[in-house]
């Protein structure tokens, strides 16, 4: 039995308030409360509503980290309110906490946002098992543990949107599908029972495609289910190359260009890589490149110091390559 003593401390909350029907601009309300070490963020939302202002609005249902409705931001960090402990929040941010919805620009009322963009993108990746079902099977349909493991926990997603609204590319570009949609696409692509033939191509082509992720790992950090969406995006990249569906574009040539460069020099030929990736598009880099050259920031191919024992690297590239382009 745990003997941890329950402690209490004072916390000042700055809470985002907005009613799209009445308010021209959002504002912040201050609340000061004694918070116990046992409470989760949702307890605070409840207490604001019950003890301070009955009109305060937020979504919650299960209180068990399953329905995915209660995600909000605390000091800019996406959190699942019913799962996130206040002790942890105070440990990271101290005793001044700002409570905001997942997306301020999508706020409808207080913590409640219009999540339509999330659902639209989710829907586009065919987020269900697409399979021919034998109505009268004579045998059970067995999935081996190894095959089940291939999903890599992507099936645990509760569509809370924490990752989606933590993604800086989603924030800037409406065309980017976002980490949750990609993780969902991976979840079904990795499922042996799935027979959908266009999902992978769709993912590669819809919106701005699957290559615009800036690899910031915000989604991995935000996900309350530890799904690691960026890792799934990497796996989609691998799947596209493996299935021969990776078309030649700047991003794919960029990835492949590393092998070329490593084979040649061990290290990267930075200029050569940009040239190989961009092809004719290289012209737009010329003005900055000239300035960089004048500052000694561009080493010509013949000036690059190759790795020592380059023969080892070349041998390994030959023997260990698993992909083709």
């Amino acid at each position: 039995m745990s003997t941890n003593k329950i402690t209490t401390q004072k916390v000042n909350f700055k809470v985002f308030r907005f009613n799209a029907d009445e308010d021209y601009l959002p504002y912040y309300e201050d609340y000061s409360m004694d918070v116990t070490s046992e409470e989760v963020v949702l307890d605070i939302l409840n207490r604001i509503k019950w003890d301070h202002d009955g009109s305060f609005s937020y979504r919650r249902s299960c209180r068990h980290g399953i329905c995915g409705t209660c995600a909000i931001k605390v000091n800019g960090r996406s959190t699942l309110a019913c799962k996130e402990s206040m002790t942890e929040m105070i440990k990271i941010f101290g005793n001044e906490l700002t409570i905001e919805p997942l997306s301020k620009k999508r706020a409808i009322k207080d913590m409640i946002i219009d999540k339509a963009d999330f659902w639209e993108k989710h829907e586009q990746v065919t987020p269900f098992l697409d399979a021919e079902i034998d109505e009268n099977p004579t045998l059970e349909n067995l999935v081996s543990p190894a095959e089940a493991n291939a999903l890599d926990e992507a099936d645990l997603c509760i569509q809370c949107g924490a990752c989606h609204y933590a993604c800086p590319v989603v924030e800037i570009s409406d065309a980017f599908m976002g980490p949750a949609a990609f993780a969902a696409a991976y979840r079904f692509e990795a499922d042996v029972r799935d027979g959908n033939e266009s999902r992978l191509t769709d993912v590669n082509q819809m919106g701005s495609g699957v290559w615009d992720c800036v690899k910031c790992f915000e989604c991995a950090e935000a996900c309350p289910k530890e799904i690691n969406p960026i890792e799934k995006i990497g796996k989609l990249h691998n799947m596209l190359f493996q299935s021969g569906q990776a078309d030649s574009n700047i991003a794919t040539r960029h990835a492949v260009g590393f092998v070329k460069s490593i084979k040649h020099n061990g290290v990267l030929d930075e200029g050569g890589l940009v040239l190989y990736s961009e092809l004719a598009g290289i012209v737009k880099h010329v003005p900055v490149a000239l300035k960089m050259f004048s500052k000694g920031k561009i080493v010509p191919p013949w000036g690059i110091t190759k790795s020592d024992n380059l023969d080892e690297i070349q041998k390994l590239v030959k023997s260990s390559s698993t992909a083709k382009f």
Partner: protein, 293 residues
């Protein structure tokens, strides 16, 4: 305490587009009495792109780099956030998956190498904080940077994913409220600027395929630092440096506002505070003029 000695994985950038980073690393190591054994056999780490194409090859090449640090019996120190992430990620995956490690070692054997998992891998920033200590740095400062407001720019791949990153150093770092670089600024006598973008992405890894997104992120970062009244920015990552220093034109265009600030590598900042002659820190290689030295 004996003399500190590390195996240095320079990465490609320090040897090509940020020569000033290599210079200042050496100058600062010298000042701090650190011996750096450069891993001249190392290949590129793949910069988080090679594995999109060929994950196994990326593991093998990174394991080879680590194997050379192990041969020296030294901790591997990186000076690029992305090198740090790729190398530490490789170590993490191999150390936690015996089957994968065996497959990788089968390949390394062909060239007479083995990955054992014996070397620690840490970024130079954390090596300095963990092994030398900020108090010692403070003591050594000869030219405190007290007249400067300095905006720390952490760079994604030193702070996220935090579980992995915190395996690589002793000083805990929270990606939502990182403190290492702020503390280093303060140790150097400077005033650290708090601004929203300090732990955000610079956009580097999508610069080619998504220039507008990348430039917007860069622009937001510089604008945040400017609005925080920063005199200059400092970063431990040469890739962030490239974005913040050389892409101000595109960044300004993307966010519709003229943005530009001098950006120093972490090593250059330490070097200035410890009294390294400025010419050993390579500021003349910057595109955005470092006008205060």
């Amino acid at each position: 305490m004996g003399k500190l000695k590390y195996a240095l994985f320079t990465g490609c950038t320090a040897k090509q587009s940020t020569p000033e980073q290599m210079m200042s690393t050496m100058a600062v190591a010298d000042k701090l009495g650190i011996e750096l054994v450069e891993l001249t056999e190392a290949s590129c780490c793949g910069a988080s792109h090679l594995q999109d194409y060929d994950d196994f090859l990326s593991l093998v090449l990174n394991a080879r780099n680590i194997a050379y640090a192990e041969k020296h019996g030294l901790t591997m120190v990186t000076i690029c956030n992305t090198c740090q992430l790729n190398t530490a990620m490789t170590k993490h995956r191999l150390d936690n998956n015996a089957e994968l490690k065996a497959r990788v070692n089968e390949k390394l054997q062909e060239v007479g190498l083995v990955y054992a998992g014996t070397s620690k891998i840490t970024h130079f920033l954390y090596a300095i904080i963990d092994d030398i200590g900020l108090d010692k740095i403070k003591e050594m400062v000869t030219t405190p940077l007290s007249q400067f407001n300095i905006a720390p720019f952490y760079g994604c791949h030193n702070i996220r994913p935090s579980e992995l990153q915190n395996e690589t150093h002793d000083t805990p770092e929270n990606p939502y409220n990182p403190t290492s670089l702020d503390d280093l600024i303060i140790a150097c006598g400077g005033v650290s600027v708090d601004y929203e973008e300090k732990n955000k992405c610079c956009g580097f890894h999508a610069e080619l395929q998504s220039p507008k997104v990348a430039a917007t992120l860069t622009g937001n970062a510089i604008a945040g630092a400017m609005d925080g009244n920063a005199d200059w920015m400092v970063t431990p990552c040469p890739l962030c440096h490239l974005k913040l220093d050389t892409q101000t034109g595109h960044a300004s265009h993307a966010i519709g506002r003229e943005v530009s600030l001098p950006v120093l590598h972490m090593q250059q900042m330490i070097g200035l505070a410890l009294g390294c002659p400025p010419e050993t820190l390579g500021m003349k290689h910057h595109l955005t003029k470092v006008d205060f030295v």
